[in-house]
């Protein structure tokens, strides 16, 4: 494992505690999530116990411990989006995708994450699927969106 992560470690030659969060972020950006192996390798490198690393990693919202789905839904959970109907969209997503906040479905197809203000309050409600943003989302447009992803998947098989 250490060898696989070597190129991340090279960027943090000082091996200090302050490097912990940037190092975990760099690894997650590429690997998608933090596995047990990664955490223990980081622990050995920085000489911090894995308990402490878990303590830090679970505290912050950015870190994930399971892989995200092929279609990763990020729903903006800001005040402006809330008053324009995010709650309804989240309920619909939970119902259709059968996942809750922070979860990935069994097939590894869909995952859902509620994120803090994306910063497009004027275009609320806003959701993002992978890196594509959808604005002024309504219940119908969301249904169509999910349907379109399902169709792509079905035709691929």
């Amino acid at each position: 494992m250490e060898e696989d992560l070597g190129h991340f470690f090279e960027k943090f030659p000082n091996r200090k505690r302050e490097d912990l969060i940037p190092l975990l972020q760099a690894i997650q950006d590429e690997e998608g999530y933090l596995s047990e192996k990664i955490i223990s390798a980081v622990g050995r490198y920085l000489d911090i116990s894995t308990n402490k690393i878990y303590g830090v990693a679970t505290f912050y919202d950015n870190f994930r411990f399971t892989a995200s789905g092929k279609y990763h839904f990020r729903v903006c959970h800001g005040s402006a989006c809330h008053v324009t109907g995010t709650g309804m969209l989240v309920r619909e997503l939970e119902k259709q995708l059968k996942v809750k906040d922070g979860e990935t479905d069994k097939e590894g197809l869909f995952s859902l994450e509620l994120v803090s203000c994306i910063g497009a309050c004027g275009l609320a409600p806003v959701i993002a699927v992978n890196d594509q943003y959808y604005t002024n989302v309504t219940l119908d447009s969301l249904k169509n969106l999910i349907e379109s992803f399902r169709e792509i998947e079905n035709s691929a098989i």
């Binding site: 490097d19 830090v56 505290f59 800001g78 005040s79 709650g87 910063g119 497009a120 806003v126």
Partner: protein, 649 residues
Amino acid sequence: MTWSNLDDTRDFLISKVLLNPERDADPELKKPLSYIAGERIDKALIYVGMATCGRIAGADKTYRSIRTYLEERDIDAQLIEGGCMGLCQAEPVVDIQLPGKTRLSFASVTEDKVQLLLDDVLNHTLPDLPVTGQYKSPILREWEQVPYVEDHPFFAGQHKLLTSNCGRIDPVSVSSCIAKGGYRAFADSISRYTPLQLCEMVEASGLTGRGGGAFSTGKKWLAASRTTSDQKFFVCNAVESDPGSYMNRAIIESNPHRLIEAALIGAYATGANKAYIFLRKESALAGDRLEKALEEARTYGLTGHDILGSGVNIEIILKRGARAFICGEETALNKSLEGKRAIPAFKPPYPPERGLWNKPTVVNNVETLFNIPLIIQNGPDWFRETGSESSKGTKLFTLSGKINRYGTIEVPMGTSFEDIVHQIGGGVKNEKAFKGIVLGINSGSFITQENLDTRVDYEDLNRIGGVLGSGACVVLDETVCMVDLAKFFTAFFKKESCGQCIPCREGTARMLEVMENATSRPSENNSFQTLERFKGVMQLKSLAAVIKDTSLCSLGKSSPNAVLNTLKYFKKEFEAHIFERKCHANVCTDLQVYYIDVDACTGCTACFKKCPMDAIIGSPRYPHFIVQEKCIACGTCYDVCKFNAVVIK
């Protein structure tokens, strides 16, 4: 005059502008500076508003489409990724300036409109597209029959000090920034003033922290400069995790050099040689632009070792946080920088005495820092001219929600919320009734119709028992359920509580339970459940008092505000939820009552088959009926009915 050689521009700007004390009196500087700033140009200049909100609205596609257009026709024009002018609803924004003519700003330029736009404008005619206006200029010829941007109702009530350059310059270019007045305050700071003088100037200006705490910035700086230590730190708090506010991110994306300059001044004034800028990882674009701007500043020798030959060393380090709401609290932010969990510490000792790695540290908010170069350049007295009796300067808001015009706005302290909603915001969307304004989550304060004449002023807000908060301004209309909103806020605090103080960790969870009981339909609606529901609400106030009294940090202390203010201002809605079990705004779906319209029902049995509770009775081809005692208001029948026969009451 052309500036093809980068080194020439650099030497000119450093020796003739930054290090020249007579720069303002030198008339020969004006012309070259207006070339560098992009006011006088010899080829067309096209800015695309590429801040986050612009990108989400499709500015990326517009930008690519403009580039292709220029390449295909072999047109020599400069295309720039600009910042945000503030009017988010006009996104994607494209500004075009032709040589010798004033700059035009077009709204909603999606990629399909690019050809129409450029065909006309490059031939000096106005296209039939929505135009926000033209920018006034003393040296350029104006377009006929185009209003000024300054006169646009969204901008007319604003007073742009901090955002004057936002959306108008190339954000990352250090040369155009210096030509437009940037880094001069810093150059003056290190050449003319002692650190102590700078701290005193800031104190005299009356500038207070804009992140929500409203503590005097000058006092903070003085405290740090008085503490002796081998190492001091300066930290810029750009976390901004209040849901519903993004003005800090917008101004960083639009003018990152101003923040760098302010951090340099702050670090010099407090004696720090390391300055951290700490922002959320989600503000990716702001981070990228800061990184690029930092690189450019480094090539000009504005950061690092022996800055501008003065012997001052200041290193600026950009850090991207891993997101936790509590990181906005200064002691928690310091912990996060140290690589630990962001848990607030006891105060005192305050960070200016013992902060990051136990060294004196000043933590300032982005908006606060944006004021600093202006104060140094124009003096504290000039700064005190703007604002009200008790609060000085301007305040940024993210205006959003159910309103006609939205975006990032800057108003002088003392502006009434009525003006913000009706003049700048253009009133409530779709002509619905105004219900209130919520001033961000960390304030939890509401401005209602009765006190809409309240001004943006710390004392005025205090009078109505509110707090200004960080600058979110979400406008609510009659379709918003206040109980649901209070529940949303409580759920947010429950999730974001760091877990250190039990009253905040457990108290917010109990508060959420009470709110959920009030907005959900119990499995059995017996008298015991009803009693529990009443009891919960009765005890909300005392629970809130305990949380406020016994929490360590301001997050914990402010967590019950939203619920308390909802109880205070919107008691009737609370009562409707608890006694009548009705949500008049039809937001709390659990309280909705479904029934079947017998005239519309064809008896197709779709709802009968799908109902998870077997609460629907009826036989095929005859109208069906919902047994209310069994119904859990899941809405399945409503979704499956093809004849709109299921109605919500």
